[in-house]
């Protein structure tokens, strides 16, 4: 599945949560968001299948911006911009 929403901005930080299971990747992203400033762009790499559903739902609820979600070789790459 590839769902590129728009051109990717420069990545500020990458969270490699591959090998971690739910809710590990989401918790890693939340920690990164807490430590970031508005406008930062964070990439999450997750091999947990639940992440492609849970993380976009969290991004929407938390009011950030889902930049892209791509499935690569055995993992998902989710890019999020801190919006508030």
């Amino acid at each position: 599945m590839t769902a590129v929403l728009e051109a990717k901005p420069a990545i500020t930080r990458t969270v490699d949560a591959r090998g971690s299971y739910c809710p590990g990747p989401l918790m890693e992203l939340i920690r990164a968001i807490r430590e970031s400033v508005v406008g930062d762009v964070i990439t999450v790499l997750s091999s947990d299948k639940g992440s492609r559903i849970d993380i976009p739902k969290w991004i929407e609820k938390a009011g950030h911006r889902l930049v892209s979600l791509e499935t690569l070789d055995g993992y998902d790459q989710i890019v999020v911009e801190k919006a508030r």
């Binding site: 939340i30 807490r34 969290w58 938390a62």
Partner: protein, 385 residues
């Protein structure tokens, strides 16, 4: 001589020490093996009992035993605090200045709870992760005359994943029994998109929240506590006013593990192989229980089922063979009781490949948990179950 050094006298450390002492008895008697356990308190505390200090008339003094009384005679006990592990030199440095060498190291070091990581937590929020805190929560409940109760989880991972749900259910039951339910609201905040990390358990618990009229708030990651307005604020932008706030505090692994380069900051969880329980690819260092980074419940039950695998890993290495038999590898087995209030409970039993299928809550599983709690000191740490 093969020196086995075990750090931590909780479920994992104590059971590992006793099982090793039995498996290696003849080698110990011949002076070929030494087993030493280091514990900071010299006491073994049954932590799941803390919740019952708050919710079930349990008393602190019934929840601890001297560690020596639970260890088999051949196990040496050192009561001291670990300062550092020097994995290169294969030594552990203690606060007293003593340096203990090892050939095999078992890290059963549990985790730390850190309420102070959230501003105003200590003056505004209650919890049940120490005996003192649980007693304080009991007093707060005794003084509660109705209002908004908020139960939540400050961050993940944390010990005993069902516990905050159990506390929400038990508080709701108590409020009904005391005739305060109609004057109260009960809210439950989960950091993730459902009530519980494991989907099947979430599916079991969500209707119970509905049936009990407990409002479930998902994706609620505690950001701040506002003591002036008596409100807890989430990172996601929600705000919940409270009259009684019960929060699972933030948890971390032990600082000395990070300082020693064994566990990465900021969490301090040991990178542990999910099957062999070896740490960071080291052939002679094992971890179990709350200290690991495994995607499993941080619970005594996890350590209970991990201990025989650690023991087989060490015994096989000492005997110069490969791990064999049913404890050759850890398959992620966990089993724990789950209270739902009104004298009912259920059972969560699962492993890496098989998620739990909790039976319909009934009085039997509640009773099972009570019996387990009462008999714990005679069974689990001594390796009898």
């Amino acid at each position: 001589m093969d020196r086995v050094l075990i750090l931590g006298g909780g479920v994992g450390g104590t059971l590992t020490a006793n099982l090793l002492a039995r498996k290696l008895r003849s080698r110990i008697d011949r002076g070929q093996v030494d087993i030493t356990l280091v514990d900071a308190m010299g006491a073994h505390v049954y932590q799941p009992g803390f919740m019952y200090i708050a919710m079930g008339g349990e008393r602190e003094e019934r929840l601890a035993r001297p560690e020596r009384s639970l260890l088999d005679a051949p196990v040496n006990l050192v009561v001291d605090t670990v300062v550092r592990v020097d994995d290169g030199a294969r030594t552990v440095v203690l606060a007293s200045g003593a340096v203990l060498p090892y050939d095999y190291l078992v890290l059963s070091t549990g985790c730390r709870i850190l309420p102070q990581m959230i501003e105003h937590f200590e003056e505004e929020a209650e919890h049940f992760y120490t005996a003192t805190a649980a007693l304080k929560l009991r007093r707060a409940l005794d003084e509660f005359k109705g209002g908004k109760v908020v139960v939540g989880i400050a961050s993940m991972p944390y010990k005993c994943p069902p516990a905050p749900l159990e506390v929400a259910f038990l508080i709701e039951s108590e409020l009904r029994e005391r005739g305060l339910r109609e004057k109260s609201e009960v809210h439950f905040c989960s950091p993730i998109g459902r009530a519980f990390t494991i989907e099947s358990v979430s599916e079991m618990a969500t209707p119970i929240f509905e049936q009990k009229g407990i409002e479930l708030h998902t994706f609620f990651n505690v950001d701040a506590i506002d003591p002036e307005r008596k409100a807890v604020l989430s990172l996601e932008g929600e705000e919940l006013p409270y009259d009684l706030l019960v929060l699972v505090p933030p948890h971390k692994g032990q600082q000395f593990l990070m300082d020693s380069g064994l566990a990465p900051a900021p969490g301090g969880w040991l990178p542990t192989d999910r099957n062999t329980l070896r740490v960071g690819g080291r052939p002679n260092v094992f971890a179990l229980g709350d200290a690991t980074d495994l995607p499993l419940s941080k619970a005594g039950s996890t350590a209970h089922f991990e201990a025989p695998v650690v023991v087989e890993g060490i015994v096989s290495a000492i005997e110069g063979r490969e791990p064999a038999g049913r404890h050759a590898a850890y398959e992620g087995r966990v089993m724990c009781f789950f209270e739902v209030g009104d004298g009912k409970g259920t059972l969560l039993r699962f492993d890496y490949e098989h998620p739990p299928k909790p039976p319909k809550p009934n009085a039997l599983w509640h009773l099972g948990k009570i019996v387990f709690n009462k008999t714990y000191f005679h069974t689990v740490p001594r390796g009898r179950v």
